[in-house]
């Protein structure tokens, strides 16, 4: 697979490490009254769609950026690649 790094252009997926669903960006608050349930969901429950999925990839053999990749899990087509830092910022601002 090729991942189109937003700054470096297309790179072979072999340069990356896959972590999982980008929902890992939304880490619950430890003092939330429902913290246990929320962390359980955060850690273990996934939608796992046959279709578009936002995923976290780490450019370990490149610039060590974390990326959010929107990929169709049935066709492997990659629709969008963003710096995870920027996605995280946006999400934290809106929260």
């Amino acid at each position: 697979m090729i991942i189109d790094h937003p700054l470096l252009g297309p790179r072979d997926a072999a340069e990356f490490v896959y972590l999982g669903d980008a929902s890992l960006l939304d880490r619950p608050h430890w003092q939330d009254p429902e913290a246990m349930g929320k962390f359980y969901e955060y850690q273990y429950l996934r939608e796992n769609p046959a279709g578009e999925l936002r995923e976290l990839w780490y450019h370990e053999q490149g610039d060590r950026s974390w990326l959010v990749v929107t990929r169709d899990t049935t066709t492997h087509a990659i629709l969008c690649v963003e710096l995870a830092r920027e996605v995280a910022r946006r999400q934290q601002v809106s929260n």
């Binding site: 697979m1 090729i2 297309p10 072979d12 490490v17 972590l19 890992l24 960006l25 880490r27 619950p28 608050h29 430890w30 003092q31 913290a35 246990m36 962390f39 359980y40 955060y42 850690q43 976290l56 780490y58 370990e60 060590r64 950026s65 974390w66 066709t75 492997h76 087509a77 990659i78 710096l83 995870a84 830092r85 920027e86 995280a88 910022r89 934290q92």
Partner: protein
């Protein structure tokens, strides 16, 4: 060389004679021959025995689709079985051997299988070899093993080397026939970066085999000229002898280039290169392959594909027979008759299955319309055929054309299905192709040469447009061709066997049986009969088989469908996939800075991940590792020892947000760690399981150096980057690995301070008062060399770790030992390191198994309640904080002489040694020279409450049951006085 079969002409070089041998018999061929064309030129018909029935077989085709003529090439360790004689470039000294016979090719004892054929039909192995059961291992299996398979391996290591590579292009053109050449010319002239790959050593595809003209040039001459023009373009890379075997995601293709297979010797260069080709666009110009027809005994030597017969005539100047008949259901078969007649080869008849044959070329031969062949004769070489009306026709070669199949495999590697074209009576590429792919020429179902050239130009134009490159006006000449007309005839019913898959010996009877037994879906048909599962992947037989099954099932061919197409298109040597990953080069090796010194001083090394670490240092006279390890432990505890600990991960952390980051990843607090101090930290996974531990030193206000375990260095760094970028995107903190940059040595023992005082420059006071336990500083040593000093102890002794830039590492080890001479300092390795840490009771990797928690490890008090940290919430899950939870304990054998082993289960005294009664296990175990007995660390339910209890360590593998005392894991200096002194 047989004059009668060499007719001259073609693209071979009559001036260059090549000597080769087949089954030990010397023969001659010409430069430009394949092994197949040379064998045919020498009149060799019988070249192989079929897989199951061991029937005599000859060459069927002229390309990589060849199912019969599989030979073993070369000898000794270079021997390679199952090589298609049709694609082997002849070279001087080539040795080839037929395969799959017992006794000789000519007199194969296993031919008895042919008589047993009623018992060897489809799925026979599901129904036979079952009784009596004890015969399976002793009789049936050895028998099957000796007869199974085609060819044999040398069983010697492959002496050749292989390589891999990466290529980038705008456009990958697969296939260098007329379509591929046109696409490459158009794209090349427009300035695109083009790669043109073809299996053959010579570009041109079927232009080199047919008698078509393009303009006023022969097809072959036109191809040659096109290739020359392409070779001169800097932006075009021609890759002959290269098979594009697979289409992967996002324009990535796999290709194997044969570099030296056509040479007598590889001269130590890589024999083949496996390329990963990155393309923005691709055009598949892979052409089409002819198929046969199924009729009684259609597999005899001398029965060949019609296109192959004319290839041997036109390209190689070889007559496949002296009295040839053509059997066809379409117009293209007639071309064989026309080409042979033009070269003076006798054509006995053109037998066309159709009533109407307009638009077929003119031939002089006798024409039989609505003809059917009902049997053939000549066991080791075709001698005659029988027609439906009873006539027996003497022929020594039968050229069969059942129609043409576009080579669309690559278009279906992304699971798209091809679509049936009734007019062409074949499958053509489906509607949904892999992204960026187009198809042109015969592969797209365009069979007329003139149309092929136009089609290729149009496709190329579209691709250039998509690539945003300019237009190119290609002046295409006219090319005439026989119009393609076909009335498919899949099989002629007979009570005799008619072959569909030649290589796996699958006949129409097998298909009928499969259908009768309920295996009607194509995927079932395939696996039940093994049709299409041979090395030719069903290129000849799949479509007729589908048609026959459709007929039997009363379904249409498109409704019956095809099986899934998967890479590789043709077989690829495993060595090519392995590339350089063999032997010591299998993966990189990481060496510590003092590796050379260690080697020179008797170190025995152990692999720790990619690292080599000194396990112990053998002194002359020491023959057993315990002698070395026990000595190292005693010497270190009595005086001083030095150990290279460079491999532990070191992460440099800087920025105002450093403390925040540390507080997030560690369970314990780091806010109050003063500059110049070191603190031990525990890390959990987010699910609350213990993950890693280490010490973090604060070298400055906003500067820390964290250590991790060796194994987790990369993973912890990855996790910290995740925390930094994804959870705290605006935090001002920066991390970088410095594991390789600092050579780090543990200096441990009561004399460690004295040793270091000889090395550390006088400006730094390392007395106990000025540099207490858990202190750190940036210092200089040996007259100004930069270094870092940390006072931490893994052994429990007074100890330090000293770090210098890695390029000084080897010298530093030497210097420390030299400075330590007066204290009889010893180097110590990972074994002694392990003994001392178990004696001290530190948990390590064996205890952090990925299933144990801080509670299990006895480290609950390290979990801060005042802050969030990785794993804080899920660590408190009820089942993890259960009262009965495992607790880390120390274990001592009650009898000093008893041997304890890690992995032993811990059970209460007096209970039966069963798994249900297991309450824990020994995780680490060492012989302690300090205590003169075996010591273990382990886990047992409610361990913290059971000190003093006697338990039993049960080890069924070594058949031992040892009484042990459960105690605190801190055997040695439990109050820590020694390390604080």
């Amino acid at each position: 060389m047989s004059r009668q079969f060499r007719i001259g002409g073609g693209l071979v070089d009559p001036g260059r004679i090549v000597s080769f041998s087949f089954d030990g018999k010397s023969m001659q061929g010409l430069h430009g021959d394949t092994l197949a064309s040379a064998l045919l030129a020498n009149g060799r018909r019988l070249v192989a025995r079929s897989f199951k029935y061991h029937r005599p077989r000859g060459i069927l085709s002229d390309g990589s689709d060849e199912p019969n003529a599989l030979v073993e090439l070369r000898s000794g360790a270079h021997r390679e079985p199952n090589t298609r004689a049709t694609v082997v470039e002849l070279f001087d000294g080539l040795e080839a051997y037929s395969q799959n016979f017992r006794l000789s090719l000519n007199n194969d004892l296993n031919a008895v299988n042919d008589l047993l054929s009623p018992f060897l039909s489809a799925g026979f192995y599901y129904k036979t070899f079952m009784w009596p059961q004890k015969f399976w291992e002793r009789v049936y299996e050895p028998l099957i093993r000796s007869t199974a398979g085609l060819g044999s391996l040398s069983a010697l290591p492959d002496p050749d080397c292989y390589d891999k590579g990466f290529l980038h292009c705008d456009l990958l053109v697969v296939g260098g026939g007329p379509a591929g050449l046109v696409v490459a010319l158009v794209a090349g002239r427009a300035g695109a970066r083009v790669i043109l790959a073809d299996e053959d050593y010579r570009l041109g595809g079927r232009l080199n085999c047919e008698s078509n003209s393009i303009g006023d040039q022969s097809g072959a001459a036109w191809a040659h000229q096109a290739a020359l023009e392409l070779a001169l373009m800097d932006n075009v890379r021609l890759m002959p002898r290269t098979t594009v075997y697979g289409c992967y995601d996002h324009g990535i293709f796999g290709a194997v280039e044969r570099k030296t297979d056509h040479l007598a010797s590889s001269k130590r260069l890589p024999r083949q290169v496996l390329w990963r080709i990155y393309s923005r666009r691709s055009v598949i110009c892979a052409g089409a392959t002819e198929r046969s027809m199924a009729f009684a005994n259609n597999d005899r030597p001398g029965i060949m594909l019609a296109s192959a017969v004319r290839t041997y005539c036109n390209r190689y100047g070889v007559a496949c027979g002296q009295n040839v008949a053509v059997f066809t259901c379409n117009n293209s078969g007639w071309r064989t008759a026309a080409d042979l007649e033009r070269r003076g080869i006798r054509v006995a008849a053109v037998i066309d299955t159709r009533a109407e044959t307009d638009a077929a070329p003119n031939v002089d031969a006798r024409i039989i319309r609505q003809g059917r062949i009902v049997n053939t004769y000549g066991r080791k070489a075709l001698s005659s055929i029988r027609l439906e009306d009873g006539e027996r026709l003497p022929v020594d070669c039968l050229a069969v054309s059942g129609g043409w199949n576009p080579n669309l495999q690559l278009t279906c590697h992304h699971r798209s299905k091809p679509q049936w074209n009734a007019e062409l009576a074949t499958f053509v590429p489906g509607d949904s192709l892999p992204a960026g792919m187009a198809v042109a020429g015969a592969a797209a179902g365009v069979f007329h040469l003139g149309e092929i050239l136009k089609d290729a130009a149009v496709v190329a134009s579209t691709v250039l447009d998509e690539l945003d490159l300019g237009e190119v006006d290609l002046q295409l000449e006219e090319a005439a061709d026989t119009p393609y007309r076909i009335e498919p005839l899949w099989h002629i019913k007979s009570r005799r066997r008619a072959w569909v898959d030649f290589q796996n010996d699958v006949t129409t009877k097998d298909i009928e049986q499969s259908h009768a037994e309920g295996m009607q879906a194509v995927e079932h048909l395939k696996r039940y009969t093994t049709l299409g599962m041979a090395t030719d992947q069903g290129k000849a037989g799949n479509i007729p088989a589908i048609a026959i099954m459709a007929d039997l099932s009363g379904k249409s061919i498109p409704d019956t469908g095809t099986t899934v197409y998967r890479p590789p298109y043709t077989p690829v040597a495993i060595g090519a996939f392995a590339g350089r990953s063999r032997g010591p080069a299998f993966r990189p090796v990481r060496k510590t800075p003092s590796h050379r010194w260690a080697k020179e001083h008797g170190a025995v090394f152990v692999e720790v991940g990619a690292w080599l670490r000194a396990q112990w240092y053998a002194r002359p006279g020491e023959s057993h590792w315990r002698q070395s390890v026990d000595r190292e432990v005693k010497a270190t505890r009595n005086s001083v020892g030095v150990c290279d600990v460079t491999t532990l991960g070191k992460i440099d952390i800087q920025g105002a947000g450093s403390t925040t980051l540390l507080n997030h990843v560690y369970t314990n607090g780091f806010s109050k760690l003063a500059v110049g101090k070191v603190r031990y930290g525990l890390m959990l996974r987010e699910d609350g399981i213990a993950y890693d531990d280490g010490t973090t030193a604060r070298l400055g206000e906003n500067h820390y150096v964290m250590t991790t375990t060796t194994a987790n260095a990369g993973l912890v760094f990855r996790q910290m980057e995740f925390v930094r970028q994804c959870l705290y995107p605006d935090l001002d903190v920066h991390i970088i690995s410095t594991t390789d940059g600092w050579a780090q040595f543990s200096v441990a023992g009561p004399n460690s301070r004295r040793l270091l005082q000889k090395v550390v420059d006088p400006e730094t006071d390392i007395s106990n008062r000025r540099f207490p336990f858990m202190g750190c500083a940036e210092i200089t040593i040996c007259g100004g060399f930069p270094a870092r000093l940390f006072r931490i102890s893994f052994s429990g002794e007074l100890a330090y770790e000293i770090a210098v830039p890695a390029r000084y590492g080897n010298s530093m080890m030497e210097t420390l030992i030299k400075a330590g001479e007066e204290f009889e300092a010893v180097p110590y390795g990972t074994e002694a390191l392990g003994v001392m840490r178990v004696e001290k009771g530190h948990f390590a990797g064996n205890e952090m198994t990925g299933q144990t928690t801080a509670l299990n490890l006895g480290a609950s008090r390290m979990l801060s309640t005042k802050k969030d940290f990785q794993g804080s919430v899920l660590a408190r899950r009820s089942h993890l904080v259960d009262d009965n939870a495992l607790g880390l304990v120390g274990l001592r054998s009650r009898d000093k002489k008893d041997v304890l082993r890690a992995g032993a289960h811990l059970l209460r005294q007096g209970v039966e040694p069963t798994l249900e009664n297991s309450e824990g296990w020994i995780s680490s175990c060492v012989y302690s020279p300090t205590f003169g007995c075996y010591l273990g660390l382990g886990f047992i339910n409610r361990g913290h409450d059971r000190f003093g209890e006697t338990a039993v360590a049960v080890n069924p593998i070594h058949k031992s049951e040892v009484s042990v005392t459960i105690c605190s894991p801190h055997f040695y200096d439990p109050d820590g006085g020694r390390q604080r002194g």
